[in-house]
Amino acid sequence: MRILRAIAAHPTGRIGAGIILLYLLLALCGTIGFTPHNPLQQFRIDRLQGPSATYLMGTDLFGRDTASRLMVGIGQSFLIAFASVGLASLVGTIIGLLAGWWGGWLDGAFMRSMDVLLAFPAILLALLIIAIVGPGTFTSVVAIAAVYTPIFARVVRGPTLSLKRREFVDAARTFGSSERYILTRHLLLNLVAPLTVQVTLALAWALLTEAGLSFLGLGTQPPAPSLGLMMSEARNLMQQAPWLLVFPGLTIMLGILGFNLFGDALRDILDPRTQRRTA
């Protein structure tokens, strides 16, 4: 509650939260079928119509309503982005925390395997995984999660290394606090700020990666709508129907902006040292 109020008071956090809320609302409507038109229905007479009162963002080559398809597409993209980042942050945090805390050969083994994953460009790695497993929503989640896990592991390991040498960890040891207590209360709690920033940034990247995969035809499969897929289909019609490219593009851009603004605001608010300035 306190955090929500603080975000509402934060100048850019408000904008970011507003964008994300709007997207969530649109995605919800799209998912439960509350769209202006059926996103899959082809209005053959109204092919390649520009934006109008009937079709807010125009129609595509098959006469499908762009606005409706975007709403469903946002839902699909968000689902994959949230699931993959959730998975990546969970696995990455555990790996980074344990590697930093225990050190030694375990640290080496964990972090070198993370380095291997990091060595591949994001899209290429995701492509590789999808090529092996086959396209689909679940595969996309796993592929994107695999791409961003090493980043979380690194983001967590660095501070863990410095935190475990801090005096309050020594103090906890003198009380006889359990390892689990130290890891959760002393380390993880101090990692909240870097993790939230990383999660929001990763959400933005994951949105982009998902769009990229769909654009290449390896993410969401047609006829189901998706932001990347819509841009891919619109590519050849750029001259005749620019709205088909502009609206999905703007949607992706605005979404990424929203997550970034939201992340910055969260970081300001969650850090107790800056609390007084924002609250």
Partner: protein, 574 residues
């Protein structure tokens, strides 16, 4: 005699409203050639800003001189207003006419260049010396600051030198341009007390040799007595009192000066020790440490394992009865903190026995750390911080526990509503009270206080010491009090153990050890303590190096031999 520097009504501000809200204002003083002015004040009093304004380094920190004049007499007799001088003129002035040394010699030296190269650079910039001439001058400079084997040390990197050596190198660099004024900003604060005495002695000698004036900034009014001619006491950006050394120290006029002089713990050589506790014969010790040895192996890489070990603590033994304070004194690297960490189990002991009183459950030994900012997790509120020892002991967080927290908070002088606040909302002294309360949560027998008051301002320090003494009476606590500050030790200790190079060299009754030190190191340590009574006293420049703690594999020191020097006073044979 004409003055070298004459400052009138100086005002310095920061940021946008620099003129409206000056950080420092109304500063006026005169400094004659060869004279030393001490600027004294607690943290935040504006003493460093004042000093940095003179060579205008304050400009780089976002500061602006908003009023006043600073008339500087140049070597040719002309005067220059430093407050109005442009950056070009100042560049020629810094280093050549006004030199400066800082508090932290490690961060002021570049870690990737040898000290020789850095001193040579100073000579190149300030005197235009090149090649051979520069390196000769650098070696002479190192000789002048009494660094042994100067030619060898030229090739050293800063991390290979001790703190005292690094500060000497900084002084050598500051003197490269033969400045007529040296600004020394807390030059000895980061150093051990014997090293501090050496640096002070060095500064005094150099001042006499070169006839340069000095502005000496310090928070420790006790240090001023040995070196200054004039004193200026600052508080909240204004000068509250200024005058000749003797006048200010003997007849302080302003309340703040009196307060500062009163708050400084005076070291009286064992005359003011506590007499509120006597050991009874056959008393069961709260903790007994026997032949404690801590060694850190030095890995020599993959091919040469076990190259040797750092013998951090070597055969340390003592006991501590309830209600008693044993102070461990020594310098950084003497093994006193490692001893404490080994007793708490934070560092693994190579061998030795640590026996606490039999029949005690849980953890009878607790610890309070030096830095109250680092030892409290910034993200937990006070209730969670205080509950931690209880949770670790398997207790439930219930009303009774909360009751105990409130009681302890009240006992250490913190309000009840502190429970829901976070560490950053407290001052340093309050945080240290919190740490003390936390250490007492589980009713320990022994509290290890590792430099627990060293990070606090002197007036806060005195109050925390009083609290510790009260708590000791109330709960019958035994304290293991680790400190480098002899005056503080004299105030709180019943017994004193002096550690040097990992070993206890002298142990016994505080009055006896402090008044009649027998071991050469204890003598040196006590002789180095500054004080306002020791006015213009010459310290000897002593460069005895501390013996290396790195020993080859399998090395075992000879067993210690002790001689008795009193009823409760043992001295290690040298």
């Amino acid at each position: 005699m004409t003055s070298l520097l004459s400052v009138r009504d100086l005002a310095v501000g920061f940021g946008r409203d620099a003129a409206e809200k000056p950080v420092v204002r109304g500063i006026s003083f005169d400094l004659a050639p060869g004279e030393t002015l001490a600027l004294v004040g607690e943290s935040g009093s504006g003493k460093s800003v004042t000093a940095l304004s003179i060579n205008r380094l304050v400009d780089f920190g976002g500061g602006r001189i908003t009023g006043g004049t600073m008339a500087w007499t140049r070597p040719d007799g002309s005067t220059l207003d430093l407050a109005q001088a442009d950056e070009r003129t100042l560049l020629g002035l810094r280093g050549r006419e006004i030199g400066m040394i800082f508090q932290e010699p490690m961060t002021s030296l570049n870690p990737v260049h040898t000290v020789g190269a850095q001193i040579e650079e100073a000579f190149r910039l300030n005197r235009g010396l090149e090649g051979r001439a520069a390196s000769d001058a650098a070696r002479e400079a190192l000789d002048r600051v009494r660094i042994p084997d100067a030619a060898q040390r030229m090739k050293y990197y800063p991390h290979q030198l001790s703190g005292g050596m690094r500060q000497r190198v900084m002084i050598a660099m500051a003197l490269a341009g033969n400045p007529r004024l040296l600004i020394a900003d807390e030059p000895t604060t980061a150093l051990d007390v014997t090293v501090q005495a050496q640096i002070m002695a060095l500064l005094a000698e150099l001042k006499a040799e070169l006839g340069m004036a000095m502005i000496f900034i310090t928070h420790d009014i006790g240090l001023v007595a040995g070196i200054a001619d004039g004193v200026m006491v600052m508080q909240d950006g204004v000068v509250v009192e200024q005058g000749r050394l003797d006048t200010v120290l003997d007849a302080p006029q302003h309340d703040y000066t009196k307060h500062l002089l009163g708050a400084v713990p005076h070291f009286t050589g064992g005359q003011a020790v506590r007499s509120d506790h006597r050991r009874e014969t056959g008393q069961q010790p709260a903790v007994k440490v026997d032949d404690l040895v801590v060694r850190f192996p030095i890995g020599g890489g993959w091919f040469s394992r076990d190259a040797g070990a750092i013998h951090a603590v070597e055969g340390v033994g003592f006991d501590l009865v309830p209600g008693e304070t044993l102070a461990i004194v020594g310098e950084s690297g003497s093994g006193k903190s490692t001893t404490a960490r080994a007793i708490l189990g934070l560092t693994e002991a190579t061998r030795g026995a640590i026996v606490t009183s039999p029949g005690r459950h849980g953890r009878p030994v607790q610890m309070v750390f030096q830095d109250p900012f680092a030892s409290l997790n910034p993200r937990l509120d006070v209730a969670s911080l205080l509950a931690e020892p209880a949770i670790a002991a398997g207790m439930r967080v219930d009303a009774a526990l909360r009751q105990r927290m409130v009681q302890l908070l009240e006992r250490v002088g913190l309000p009840e509503d502190a429970l829901s606040r976070y560490p950053h909302q407290f001052s340093g002294g309050q945080r240290q009270r919190l740490c003390i309360a936390r250490a007492l949560m589980l009713n320990p027998d022994v509290v290890v206080l590792d430099e627990a008051v060293s990070a606090l301002d002197v007036s806060v320090q005195a109050r925390v010491l009083d609290l510790l003494i009260d708590l000791q009476h109330e709960f019958g606590l035994a304290y293991l009090f680790i400190s480098h500050d002899m005056a503080v030790v004299e105030r709180i200790a019943h017994r004193v153990a002096v550690m040097y190079a990992g070993q206890v060299v002298e142990i016994g009754d505080a009055a006896s050890v402090l008044a009649k030190p027998r071991h050469s190191y204890t003598k040196r340590l006590i002789a180095a303590v500054p004080g306002i009574e020791r006015r213009r006293q010459r310290y000897d420049v002593d460069t005895t190096p501390v013996p290396s703690l790195i020993k080859p594999k399998g090395y075992e020191p000879a067993p210690a031999e002790w001689v008795t020097a009193g009823e409760d006073h043992l001295v290690r044979v040298e």
